[in-house]
Structures are given as C-alpha cells and as structure tokens.
Amino acid sequence: MRTIHASHVALLLALAACQNDGGAAGSETDGDTTGTVTGTGTSGDVDPTDGGGCPSDMQFFEARVWAPILGTACVGCHNFEGLAKDSRMVLWAESEEGWLEHNFAAAREVALVDDGGVSLLLLKPTNQHPDMHKGGMVVAPDTEAYDVLAEFVARSEGTFSCTGSDGEGAVGCDGGGLRRVRRLSHVEYNRSLQAVLGAPTELGLGFAADTVVQGYTNNAGALVVSGLLADQYRDAAEKVADLIVAELPARLGCDPQEIGEEVCAHEFIARFGKQVFRRPLTADEQARYRSLWKEAAAVEQFAGGIRWTIAAMLQSPGFLYRTELGEHAGDGVYPLSAHELAGELSYLIVGGPPDDALMAAAEDGSLKDLEVLRMHADRLLAGADADATLHRFVDEWLHLDRLRTVPRDATLYPELTPQIREAMLGETHRFAAAVYRSGGSLTELLTANYSYMTDALAMYYGVEAGAGEADPAGFKRVDTGAASGLLTHGGVMTTHALPTSSSPIHRGKLVRERLLCQEMPPPPPALDTSPPPVDPELSTRDRYIQHASEATCAGCHSRIDPIGFGFEHYDAVGRTRSMDGIHPIDASGEIVLTDHTNGAFDGADELAQLLAGSPDVEACYTLQWARYAVGSDAETELQCVQDELMAAFVAAEGRLDSLVLALVGTRFFRERGGAVVDGGETTTGGDPGTDGETTTGDETTTSGGTTGAESGPVTSPGIDTQVTQDSQWKKGECNTVTVINTTDAPITWQVVLPRLGKVQNAWSAEYTQDGDLLVWSGEPQNAEVAAQGTTSFGFCILY
C-alpha cells in the first residue's frame, strides 16, 4: 500500500467535489471534468497535521477522507433520506451536532468489514463488490482518493504506521521541479511560425486539437506529437519553406554567387537555425543540416536545398519543444541555460519566441542575472504582444474559447450574429487587458462598472454607446450601469447558457469551478435525472428549484444553482432582462459551503462583491493562473510556486500583473533538480554540457549465451542485447538495454548483466541478483519478445 503524508498535500487546492456532469437539466460540462474523485486536497487552509507530523486518525478522516470524498461524493445518497438510507453507511450532514464523530465511526465500521480479503470501504465506492454499488464507481482504483481510503482502512485495522514511508508518494517541491521538455501548444507554435516567417499565418491553428487539462491547452505533460500531428507539422513546414524560398535573395543574408553556394548555405543554416531553435545549433545539428542541404541541392539546386533545410528545421524537436533541462552546477542542481530562460520568459509573457533583445541577453549570459531577467519581464509586459497571452488566459479560464461555436437557437435569438459574438470576445479581451495594464486588481476585474464595446455591441446590449475615442477596431469605453465586471460580460453569459434559455446550472458551475476551484462530481448513475417538462407556468428559476426539493440532487445543486440564480437578469445571449417570459426576475441567491465566501445576495452586483472580497477567490485565481503560466496541473510542480505567488498577490492587493513578476522571481523559474523526486530524476541527469547536446554514450552489444560461465544464469539463447549508457556521473550510471530476438520464434527472455553496483531503480523489467550478476526478465507487457522483434528496459545503479 502506498502511504502519503497528509502534511504534503497542497493546501491551496480547495478541492471539494460536486460537479454536474450532464446534470438533471441537461447541462453540458467541461471537457476536462473529473467523473470520479481523484484528488484529495484538503479543503481550506488548515494543516491537519499541526505542522508536518503524522495526523491522528480523526484528523486524517476529516481532512482527507471526509472533505474530499465522503462529504462530497457519498453523503448525497448515504444519508437518512437518500437512496442509500438502508445501506450499511448512513452519514450525517455537517450541520448535525456530532457529525464528525458519528461519520468517523460509521466509516470505520464499513472499513472493518472484510469481504474476500478486501475492505468494503474499498470494494463499494470502486464498484468492485460482487453485489455492485448502486451509485456506480465514485472512486477509481489507481487514484490518490483510493490510496487515501486504503490508508484509512489500514488505520482502522491498526496496520498503518506513519514512519517508514519516507520518499514514497511524498508530494513537494524539494527537487525544484522536473527537468523536462515542453512541446509548443498550437497557439505558441503558430506564433513561433509567424516570427520565423515574418508575416501572419494561421497554419498552426487548424491542427488536430490537443488534450486540454483543467481547461488549459498548454499542459506540458499532455502535449505530445502524434502521427497525425507529425503529418500536419510536415505540411505546414513545407508551406512556410515555400514562402521563404520565394523571397530568397533577401532572406539569405549572403550572396551565394559572391562567397560560394556552400559557404552561403552554411551561413544560412547557422543564422536561420538559431532563429528557429532559439539557440545556436550544436556542431552535430549543423552537420546534419549541411548534409541535408548538400544532398537536396545536388538534385534541386541551391534554392531547393534551402527549401528542404527550412522544412526540416521547422519539424525538428529543436523548434517544436522548449527544453527546461539546464546545465549541471553540482549537487544535482541544474540552472536553466540563458537561452532556455529567454524562451521560458518569452513564451510566458508574449506566447512566442524571444525577440532580439532577449536573444542578445541570452548570448552574453546576462539573462542569468535575476535583475536583468526582471528587467526584460517588465519590458515584455509593457509591449503590445503581451495582450494575446492574457487574452488566451481569460479565454481558457472562463471557457470563452467556446463562445464562437456554442449553439444558440437562431429563431429565438436572431440578433446573436457571428459579428456580435466576435465583438463580445473583443469586449472581454479589451476589458481584461485594460485592467491588467492599468495595474488593476482582481477586485476591479470582478466589480468594474465599465467595459469596452463597439457601438453595435452597445446597441445590442441596450446601453449607451461610449463617448470617448474608439480604438482601431471601433471599441470605446462604456459605462455599463452594473458593477459586476467580467462575469456578466455578454461573452461569459452566452457561453454559459443553453440553446434556448439561460442556465443557472452552467453559470453556478462556472463560479464554483473556475472562481472557487471546487470541482463538482457528476450526478450518481442509476438515478433518474430527467428534468420536469418545460412548463410555461414556471420561470427558469422555479424549474431549477426542483433540484433543491430532492435530497439526492440537493447535495450538489445547493452549491451550484443558488449562485447561478444571481445571473438571471442576463438572458441566454448576454442581454439584460427584467422578465423571464411572463415571470418577473428573482435574482436572489446564496453562496454556501465555502471557507470564506458564504453569504446571501441579490443579483449579480452583490454576488460579484462577495466574490471579489474573498480570499477563496484570490487563492483560486492564483491557482488558475499558475496552471496556465506553469503549464501544469501537477500539485508537485505547482507547489514549487504557489506559496510565493500567493504571498506576492496578497501583498500587491490582488494586482493582476504582480503574479508574472512573482513567478519570474521563483527558484522554480530558473532552476531544476536538486533532490530526488519520486525516483530516478537526478540519477538520469548527466551533464549535458553547454553545447546543448550530448551523445548517447557507449554502446556494447553482446550475444545470447556468451556472457555466462559454464554454470549459473545465462542470457536466453537467440537474444542479443545492446546496452546504451544514457548517463554517467561520479556515483552511478543509467543504462537502456535493447533486447533483440534474432530468431524466428517468440522468446520469453532473460538477460544476464554484470552487477556494477546497487540498482537504484529500473523500468520495464525486473531483476534478481545472482552473485555478481543481475538476471533481468520482462514485465507482463514485454516478457515475451516477438520473432525478430525488440523490446527494451532500463535501470540506474549507484556504484
């Protein structure tokens, strides 16, 4: 069993759980929602361990079992009146006196029921019990939530010990973050392509959609190159190469007639390559492109060679990935190279490659000086290019990337033209940028009484057009007559509504998930969630109030709907209204079950006031921005920056731009490595040197049957192995072993290698020790290697 220190849980993540996944009134949910409880972050900011020790069973239950799991995913059915009222586990609501003690005892009792060697508390929520679980699978195996339940079972059985689990499962930023590569998001790719081309293009924007994590499209862990994408990269690279070759004499930077074709081509490769790769090419890389040019030019002349050189560079990992690998500075610490820093800063702020000034600061190494780095951050923030990155954050944070396509009934809402949708997006972008650039705060973002509209949009909303000067696209500052800032923008209200009506569920869920950072679970299966028929006698509000009347629905919908009601003055296409059909609007509502944001309100202005003043929202905004800026959803990584970001944000009284500068100042932004994180990392580092590339080390090939002595284990006959040393340092080394079946029949292989030290970790194989030998065999998925096939495994050792 995996044990996890509660003290290491990221405390910023207020991860309650109740989420409408296709809820009773047919809401459409995010693409990124979680159907089962996977996280176990504590709710609120109380460290249950009093500063890092081992939590008591009761503390553990409250913070790790109750708050994120039982109290959200289970209590909806497992209560006095719920669907599971006759089950073995009946829980009390938090409003009941003695709820904690009662629920602790009830859960413990279930934990102690053993069914075929496994606790009922593990069988039921995972729906693995022979009698099934009427609520379906609410906790998936292999998740943190499952591990938490398993730990609770072990604690109940008395088999759990807080000691002896050092390292394993530990969550933290001891290692200063993972040395990694990030594939450019499509937006970043497109901007990078534009920089190379020196002209606008949209070639990257039509690529097959990437995996979206928590709403964000730049998640470093999720972005990989697929076969389809590799083909789309190829296509775009060839098109751009054609465009550049069409301007060739001017783009070359040298005259092939004057200095010779080969010399000129080599100059071009070095200069253009540096622009594309955002760093000088290594000697190996130069050699590769020189040879490609030479071969292609031999057939297609000088320009043809240049064309294929460009096309290859634009498909190269050097262009498609940003590296955060650093250069080893001792003690396992890897400060990022100056060129890596330039890229990191530039993509953070302007979403594209470094400009000339930044490249110069990388060339002379001055960028490694924190003050110089900050100076460039300020400079880039002040430039117009920073807007696009901010716009994208707002779009992904509030899901406005769906505004252009969210379906709306054209008969009911003919006024919502594509032009109006576009103007709505422009409004939110301009407003957010204006607040940001004027040093405005989160409070201003959420409560401002002004916005930016074209005259057509103002007319659409029915507000007075602005009096001031219009920007080039026709937007003017306008008094909105409301004090609800961003949230009641037409784009936000339209995106979060249904084709024919407003949707308190969508809008309430937006606030819960994106401003309070509380994820909502889907409604339990096998529960008929059909909404009542549309009844013209009832207002939208009254129809949705039906949710609250049923106990099984109320568990979640009491968190969602009463917030959504606050937006009822805004119709499905973002216009204000005073009537819902024949019904006067009632926009009163309430926020419940938060740490610091609870309260009743009437209308969006008052709702906005509640949110704007709340530390919950401040923390959530910081988290959302961190997910976007760091391009990660991993607690381990976000934890490297959260505390510093939060402190800076609070100190700056919620100034939006303070987060960027705070992030740039963190150690995480400038260094990687430092200590072992979850095994393997520091041992595989090696020193890549300053040329940015190392060879893959020595390779040795042995044949099956020849390594063993007369007795003892031998490598399976017919198996050849190729051992590649991936890295070596003073105290150890890491190797990849390719297992090659040279025969025409499948072999369940065994490979025998000398034991050079203590095995620190291994992957894709298991080993046993036999004297000075290690006997390796595959894991279930690669234990057998096909006829003429290969597989591989790897390991690291300490001498």
Partner: protein, 428 residues
C-alpha cells in the same frame, strides 16, 4: 546509418509501445483458423446513449421489424445486412465519461490481453502493418472542447488518445494530396521527405538521450509518430479520388451534416484503395452540445438525451436526432454495399465489419447498462446477418472478442478479463 536508425525506431519507439502485441504481428497464419474473416473493421460512433423503448426492434432473432417512428427505422432498407445487439453492459463503468472511456476499451488495463487499447487500435496493431496507415480516425466536431476523456474514444495505450481529424480539407490533403502530381514527381517528393524524416529521427533520438526516464515517453511517442509519418509517405496507390470537400468552418454547428457526408465519402474511398483496413468515424462526443438544427430541433443533443418520458416534445426531438444518426450509418453501409472490392469478389460491405457504438444505455439513467450496438456487414461470410440478438447483461468485452476474431485475431479476452472471456455466444 539508416539501419541503425530503423533498429532504434523499433527498439525505442514502436517496440516499447507495441510490445504486448508483437505475437499478433508475427502470427498472420493463425488468422485462417476459425472460419472466414473480414478484411476491414469500421467503428461509427454517435453520442449520449439512447431511449431503449424508442430504439428496440420488435420480434424475434430472425423475424423482427423496426417499429414505425423508432430510432432504427431508417435502417429498414439495409436490415438484412445488420445484426442488432441488445443487452450488453459495460462492467465497472458508468455515466458519460466512464462510458466513453469503456466503450471501445472494455475497461482494459496495461496488463490485460488487450493492453488497455481501444478495439480499433488493437486490431490496427495486428492488421495494419502492411497498409499506408495502420488506422484512420475521422471526426465531426469532436474537438470543440479539446481532447479529454469525454471527447476521445480511441486509445493507443492506457490514457493515450488517438485524435480524430475533424477537418475534411486536412483529411483530403493528407490522404489524396500526393495523387495530384504525376507519379515521378510524387516519387521524388517522397524520397526527399524520407530524407527529412531520417534527419528528424536523429534529432529526436539525440534529444531523448538528454532526458530523464519520466520525460522519455514524450520522445518515444515522437519517434513513433515519425515512424507513422514515414509509413504514410509511402505508396499512395491508384485511388478513385473522392470529390474535394468544400472548405468552411468545420466547427459550425450547421455544417455538421455536410462534414459527416464528406468524411464518410473519404473514409470509404481510403478503405477502397487499401490505404488502411481500420477506420473510425466519431460524430461529436459524449455530452454533445450539437443541435440538430437542420431538422428544426432547437435544443442541444445532450439536454434532449435526458428528457423524461412525460416530456413528449423533448423526447420527439431526441428521437428525430437519433434517426438522423441512423441515416448517416445507413449512408455508410450503403456506400460500402455499392462499392465492389478491387478484386471484384463481392462488395466492400460483404468483407467488412461495421460497428455502431454508443457510450451509454438509457441516457436518462446515466449508466452503461444494456448499451445498444448495431453491426453491419458480412465479415467475409463469417456471420449470418439480418438478426436481432438479445442478451441479459453480458459483458460487451465479449462482443469485442467476437469482432477481433472476425478480423482474424486470436485473443480470447478483450478488456477486463474478470467479467468474461471468449466471444459473444450466438454471434456466429
């Protein structure tokens, strides 16, 4: 140089990923066992479950009809080419997202026989070695919300999705673009592209060598992608070109029907000239917001899927949308039926297996009990079609085993082996 590169590709990229399936790759002879087999496998998906009483045929296994006004009624013309399957459950999966994940994987994990792959990818691994593409994935508005468990159905490894291409213009360029030039020009182009891929493999391998074990899977995936790219460069053989699809906003709800037609046309054309033997068409995704506005429907499909029986108007709109999806399935089936095989041995449909899959049973219940399936095609004469099979809670993994075996594979389980092994009884 080139030899080393290829062995690296095998060892690092494909080898790692394909390791669990290599026994399939090397066993083509075993495909002949166990009766006739199909040449190709096609998956067709439409979202948000069903309303069973409006979907269910009436009658017995061989004597059945689609009631007037029911969802499957549009398929009456091709009824004798179908096998309608009712009463299969996704074990251990529930709800939109769970159903989407389990639909084609049968909840398999890395250690299972199916390796956690979706059936299309599992079959492609076994039969896709000698075609230009191991598989092709076509989509219609699958990606408005980006890639996620809700919006993807095809898995090349646990937690690894295969992204469908939603843009018919992109698809056309990728599949048929090279056919526009002459043969010699195309061959020269391919040679040059091949040379670039060689360089890219060297660069990706070099970067991979600098990474720790956590990050290497990214470059392994990249190397695998380059291997696929390389394979795609080779041999676009003489194909009957489908009409070039019209450019336009593929995300525009109103273009849903036009995009669907274009994708089906290109899918059949690609299959007809042997570019691949495995293809899928994914229409939207679970929790689909698509509005069947072209039918006069005004609510989103997901909202409609949760309408109570008492809501007659809402249910009628849902059924209207579902009948439209049935018509698209029929269009695909008829297109295959009217396209002769290149060797003139029957129609494409005779030698194909087409699976219409959904991710839930009764959508109002948010569960994956009695999930509806429709099969089409004779699988090379393996199956008696024109039948209606009713089960009482069999695992849909058994249907997957039947489909694998119809493609000549020999696996006895698919997905979670705990809930049953062997093919679906009665489906012979």
């Amino acid at each position: 140089m080139s030899i080393r590169r290829r062995s690296l590709l095998r060892g690092l990229g494909i080898g790692l990923v394909a390791a669990p399936f290599v026994n399939l790759l090397s066993a083509p002879s075993s495909r002949a066992e166990g009766g006739p087999v199909a040449r190709r496998f096609i998956v067709f998906f439409s979202p948000n479950g069903t309303i069973p009483q409006h979907w269910r045929p009436s009658g017995s296994e061989t004597e059945f009809t689609f009631p007037a006004g029911s969802i499957l009624e549009p398929l009456a013309d091709v009824q004798d080419r179908l096998i309608v399957v009712e009463g299969l459950d996704f074990f251990g999966a529930d709800n939109h997202k769970g159903g989407m994940a389990a639909m084609l994987t049968a909840s398999g994990a890395a250690g299972d026989e199916s390796g956690g792959l979706s059936i299309d990818q599992f079959v492609a691994r076994a039969v896709g070695g000698d075609t230009r593409f191991a598989s092709l994935e076509f989509g219609v508005q699958t990606s408005l919300w980006g890639g996620s468990t809700q919006t993807r159905m095809s898995y090349s490894a646990p937690k690894t999705w295969v992204t469908p291409d939603d843009d018919p213009v992109n698809v056309y360029g990728r599949l048929f673009g090279d056919l526009m030039g002459g043969e010699d020009a195309a061959a020269a182009l391919r040679a040059r592209r091949q040379r670039v891929v060689d360089l890219l493999v060297d660069e990706a391998t070099a970067l991979r060598g600098r990474l720790g074990s956590e990050e290497r899977p990214k470059l392994d995936a990249h190397l695998d992608a380059l291997a696929q790219l390389e394979k795609g460069l080779s041999g676009a053989t003489a194909c009957a070109l489908p009409g070039a699809p019209a450019a336009g906003d593929t995300q525009d709800n109103a273009r849903f029907p036009a995009t669907t037609t274009a994708q089906i046309d290109m899918m059949v054309a690609a299959l007809a000239c042997g570019m691949t033997r495995v293809a899928s068409l994914q229409l939207s995704h679970t929790v689909s917001p698509t509005v069947c506005s072209w039918l006069g429907v005004s609510e989103g499909h997901h909202s409609l899927s949760h309408m109570d029986d008492k809501n007659l108007a809402g249910v009628a709109q849902f059924v209207a949308c579902e009948r439209w999806f049935a018509e698209q399935f029929k269009y695909l089936v008829q297109k295959l039926a009217t396209t002769p095989e290149a060797d003139m041995q029957g129609s494409m449909l005779d030698n194909s297996v087409v699976l219409w899959a959904k991710e839930m049973g009764d959508s109002r219940m948010h569960n994956c009990v009695s999930v509806p399936f429709v099969l089409a095609g004779g699988a090379g004469g393996r199956w008696q079609t024109g039948r209606y099979l009713k089960f009482a809670g069999e695992s849909h993994g058994k249907l997957m085993v039947s489909l694998c075996q119809a493609m000549g594979l020999t696996n006895e389980t698919f997905g979670n082996p705990e809930v049953g092994a062997g093919p679906l009884p009665g489906l012979v």
